[in-house]
């Protein structure tokens, strides 16, 4: 039972750690499927985290915090769109620039407004998304195997976690079962054909990056006022890049994206748990191995060992109507 308890604890931790990755990777999915590479996911997440923490602190409402996070993240997306869609700039350069802008701007504004070295003050109770105990969690707790899983992994998360998992089928449905999704994928594969059909490639791509901004707003908000209770300098700590790795690892498909994020979250949770513990027969395993695994797996995948990852064909290429 001891072992099972530990396993449940790690699973719960894995879910909590994978949610920001999930939102961000889904954001990247929409953007990249439309042919706009988005290295600026990290920056959008950070900006959204800052905005949501500020708004939640000032208004005392977590939902207004979420709204602010989404708003700021969409603004960042639009800047990315303006640079790389309208003005056909390099998408990677624009994304990297946004990352730096977000990193610097959040600290400067935070320092100017709150004078705490770029941090926001602690957000009080109502300004945060509290864990939701699902009905029957306490009653179920004593049922073997399923009980602890239900009570500690499925129940007891905050609303954003459930929204995150709900977004996966929604993203799948939008991308693969709607006209919008078909066109979105088409501008990522062959924008010329879409243009010939009389649909605006630019407007299509703009809508895709707006969706990406919307989703990044959720991940930033989750970091700042669900998982912790304040914004802290550079608190995204590279999660945007791990999400990108998850997106590639999942071959730009929504459901595999979810599993990739859960896997990466799980590895992170295992790394946290394994610290300083020795494995029978092997001894103490350096946790860096687990922390590096997501990247190693992605490299192995890109090298073609686990199937082939095909990026959207027109990804990274600004669309020029006529030469």
């Amino acid at each position: 039972m001891e072992f099972f308890d530990i396993f449940v604890s790690i699973l719960g931790s894995a879910v909590r750690l994978s949610i920001p990755l999930l939102f961000t990777a889904l954001a990247g999915l929409f953007s990249e499927r439309a042919g706009v590479f988005d290295i600026g996911l990290e920056g959008k997440m950070l900006a959204a985290a800052f905005a949501s923490a500020c708004a939640a602190y000032v208004t005392g409402s977590a939902w207004l915090g979420l709204l602010a996070g989404i708003g700021v993240s969409i603004v960042f997306s639009l800047v990315h769109g303006f640079a790389s869609i309208t003005n056909r700039g390099n998408q990677i350069v624009s994304g990297v620039a946004l990352n730096f802008v977000a990193m610097g701007l959040t600290v400067v504004l935070g320092q100017a407004w709150f004078g705490q070295g770029g941090r926001t003050p602690q957000v009080p109770g109502e300004g945060r998304f509290a864990p939701i105990i699902l009905p029957g969690a306490d009653a179920m707790r004593d049922v073997p195997v399923i009980g602890p899983l239900y009570a500690n992994v499925i129940s007891g998360n905050n609303i954003l976690t459930y929204i995150g998992f709900l977004m996966v089928p929604v993203a799948w449905w939008v991308l693969f079962r709607t006209r919008f999704g078909l066109r979105l994928r088409a501008v990522g594969e062959n924008p010329g054909a879409v243009d010939t059909a009389g649909i605006s490639v630019s407007w299509m791509r703009y809508r895709a990056v707006i969706v990406a901004g919307f989703l990044c707003g959720f991940s930033g908000t989750y970091l700042a006022i669900a998982q912790s209770a304040a914004f802290i300098n550079n608190m995204s700590a590279g999660k945007g890049y791990i999400a990108l790795a998850a997106l590639i690892f999942a071959k730009w498909k929504p459901v595999p994206v979810m599993f990739a994020c859960l896997l990466f979250g799980f590895l992170d949770a295992v790394a946290n748990f394994m610290q300083g513990k020795s494995v029978p027969g092997i001894g103490e395993v350096p946790v860096q191995i687990f922390q590096a695994l997501p990247y190693i797996l992605t490299c192995v995948l890109l090298a073609g060992f686990i199937g082939v990852a095909h990026a959207p064909k027109a990804g990274g290429v600004p669309y020029v109507k006529e030469r």
């Binding site: 719960g12 304040a230 802290i232 550079n234 608190m235 700590a237 946290n272």
Partner: protein, 330 residues
């Protein structure tokens, strides 16, 4: 580590030249940022106190990356600031370089030792302070399991952990102590999410008191402990007020005194170079009790910790220093 009073006095005699009064003090923080509610904020507090008492303005700088420290220290020294105080072990090599270039400027480094005639190195016996809070943690724990979350995995932080373990074992010999580090890079001081997750792991394993020695990441530890109805222990500054009633105590490291004394001694022309090692005896480290945690410290705990304090001062209890041999007896 320890130098005799003689060297201190010799160094003091050397620097007894310039007149008092007009000084331009400067302060360089660690990468955790000025308002980390912990280590750097304590340094800031010392500088502010000096400013309030003497009216002398000081300049400070918050390096945001490990490469900016040297630049900042050199910049202050070359513009005639004196003394230049750098708080963080991260500026050790920077200090070695710059202090050699400006032999007439007085430097102070906190948390590390630089062996130069114009540098005062202030180090703390963190193991003693950690021993005291460990003792309290051991007595406050209902489950017999307590946790420790360190910031960056360096000997200095292991020293906190080692003293803490010894204190816990002194209270309950069979207690379990879970130890985790947030990371191995400077980013580990600013990652409250991972710190909180590590804390949650320890709580899931039964820990009910968790000691954070992790700069700003520690805020995540205290938050998670409070969210789960457990107790946290703060570090460096008095952090009891962050979650009243949910922070058992704080291991206070008087970084403010180091900064204040550096400024004051320079002003009064009493600056001495050499190593200052501050422990419980010198009031350099202690545990914090205020109105926020008074109810958590029972009379028995208070009595035991005061006794431990007296024993350490008297030398009857020796707390092992991790950095002396890079190992912990437990």
């Amino acid at each position: 580590m320890k130098k005799t009073l003689l060297t201190l006095m010799a160094a003091a005699a050397m620097s007894a030249t310039a007149l008092a009064a007009e000084i331009k003090p400067a302060l360089v923080y660690g990468t955790g940022g000025k308002f980390d509610k912990s280590f750097n904020e304590a340094a800031f507090g010392g500088a502010e106190q000096f400013k309030k008492e003497t009216g002398v303005e000081y300049r400070d700088f918050e390096p945001t990356s490990d490469t900016q420290g040297e630049q900042a220290i050199r910049n202050f020294a070359s513009r005639g600031f004196n003394p230049v105080v750098a708080v963080s072990f991260a500026w050790t090599s920077a200090m070695e370089k710059v202090a050699a270039e400006f032999p007439d400027t007085k430097f102070v480094i906190v948390d590390s030792v630089v062996d130069l005639p114009n540098v005062r190195s202030v180090v703390y016996k963190e193991e003693e302070g950690s021993y005291l809070v460990g003792l309290l943690a051991g007595m406050a724990s209902q489950t017999g399991k307590v946790g420790f979350v360190g910031g960056m995995d360096i000997p200095l932080i292991r020293k906190f952990g080692c003293g803490y373990v010894q204190g816990v074992k002194a209270a309950k010999a069979d207690a379990t102590v879970f130890q985790n580090m947030v990371g191995t890079t400077g980013a580990a001081w600013n990652d409250p999410v991972r710190a909180g997750e590590l804390t949650k792991n320890q709580i899931d394993q039964g820990a009910d008191v968790v000691y954070a020695a992790a700069g700003a990441s520690g805020l995540g530890v205290l938050q998670t402990a409070a969210d789960n109805g457990k107790l946290g222990i703060g570090v460096d500054s008095n952090q009891n007020h962050l979650h009243p009633g949910k922070v058992l105590t704080s291991m206070v490291k008087r970084v403010d005194l180091a900064v204040y004394n550096a400024f004051k001694d320079t002003q009064e022309d009493k600056f001495s170079a050499g190593v200052l090692s501050l422990g419980v005896k010198e009031d350099g480290v202690t545990y914090a009790v205020d109105e926020n945690n008074k109810a958590l410290i029972t009379p028995e705990m208070s009595e035991a910790v005061e006794k431990a304090k007296a024993d350490i001062i008297a030398g009857t209890v020796k707390v092992h220093d991790y950095m002396s041999d890079n190992s912990c007896p437990n």
